[in-house]
């Protein structure tokens, strides 16, 4: 009979795709959980090359002496007058100093026992102020 031929087979010839999204989401969540975004950020400095020493006029140096308590002694060139500052105030100091002398170099001298974060505070303030000529040193005569 013609009716039999017209009846379609009930078994589907397609691969079931209903669970595809579930599989995809399972994988997605797995990678979401296992992904660790690296924490690669910080303050960049350029180290001098070995044996590289440049004589700089004392007039072009701003000495920033980082003490153990985080207070910064500011000394201009060869003058003996010392100005005490908090690291946050270095930013405005640098901006005013550098407009009067564009060749100014910041010499950050840190006390050997001062915590790393105090040096970072000063470096942070200098970089916020756009300073590029920065020298990091260890305070020797204290």
């Amino acid at each position: 009979m013609a009716v039999i031929n017209q009846k379609k087979s009930k078994v589907s010839d397609e691969i079931p795709t209903a669970s595809m999204a579930d599989i995809a989401f399972l994988l997605l969540i797995f990678f979401l959980v296992t992904t660790v975004f690296p924490k690669d950020k910080g303050l960049e400095v350029v180290l001098p090359e070995q044996g590289e020493e440049v004589a700089v006029s004392q007039n072009n140096i701003l000495h920033l002496i980082v003490r153990t308590d985080g207070i910064v002694d500011v000394k201009r060139g060869e003058s003996t007058s010392i100005q005490q500052m908090r690291p946050d105030d270095i930013e405005t100091l640098w901006r005013t100093e550098v407009t009067s002398n564009p060749n100014l170099i910041a010499a950050v001298k840190t006390h050997p026992d001062a915590a790393h974060r105090f040096m970072i505070d000063v470096l942070d303030a200098l970089q916020l102020a756009g300073a590029e000529r920065i020298s990091l040193q260890l305070l020797e005569d204290f």
Binding site: K41, L43, E44, L47, H116
Partner: protein, 149 residues
């Protein structure tokens, strides 16, 4: 004709369901995105407390060209999950620096309370290894906390 039945008998052809056939495509797109953007870490984090800085910037270098040097509070140095004596840092860094064709960036991950004398010796070691680009790893300091300080 539709007009004869007033157009009421005919069912609307628009489906009332949200089409879900493209769901798998979206999921796979996200999957592939995360697979490509995932970078597996080479070394485990040491337990240090980060120093904070408002000028913190992302390092403009590929992750494979960044070498982490961990400096703990007592001055002990860790490179690639192993402790390294301070005097041998340059010997460890020098071949890595050469292998990266001078592209290596050193990320100094110092604890916020590390005495600066250790950081200075480390910098001397890096200078003798010929390294130029160094980053002091810091956490981003929000301007809000800065104002409170």
């Amino acid at each position: 004709m539709a007009i004869r039945s007033g157009g009421l008998d005919k069912k609307s052809k628009a489906s009332s369901e949200i089409p879900s056939s493209s769901l798998a495509d979206i999921a796979f797109l996200l999957l592939i995105f995360f697979m490509v953007s995932t970078v597996f870490r080479t070394d485990k984090d040491r337990p240090i407390e980060w120093a904070e800085a408002a000028a913190t910037e992302k390092i403009d270098e590929k992750t494979k060209n960044i070498l982490n040097i961990w400096v703990e509070r007592d001055g002990s140095i860790w490179i690639n999950d192993s402790p390294v004596p301070m005097a041998e840092v340059s010997d460890v860094v020098l071949p890595l620096y050469a292998a990266s064709e001078q592209h290596l960036v050193i990320s100094i991950r110092g604890d916020r309370d590390t005495p600066y004398s250790f950081m200075d010796i480390l910098q001397q070691e890096l200078v003798s290894a010929g390294v130029v680009r160094v980053v002091f790893a810091t956490a981003l300091e929000r301007q809000m906390t800065r104002a409170r300080r």
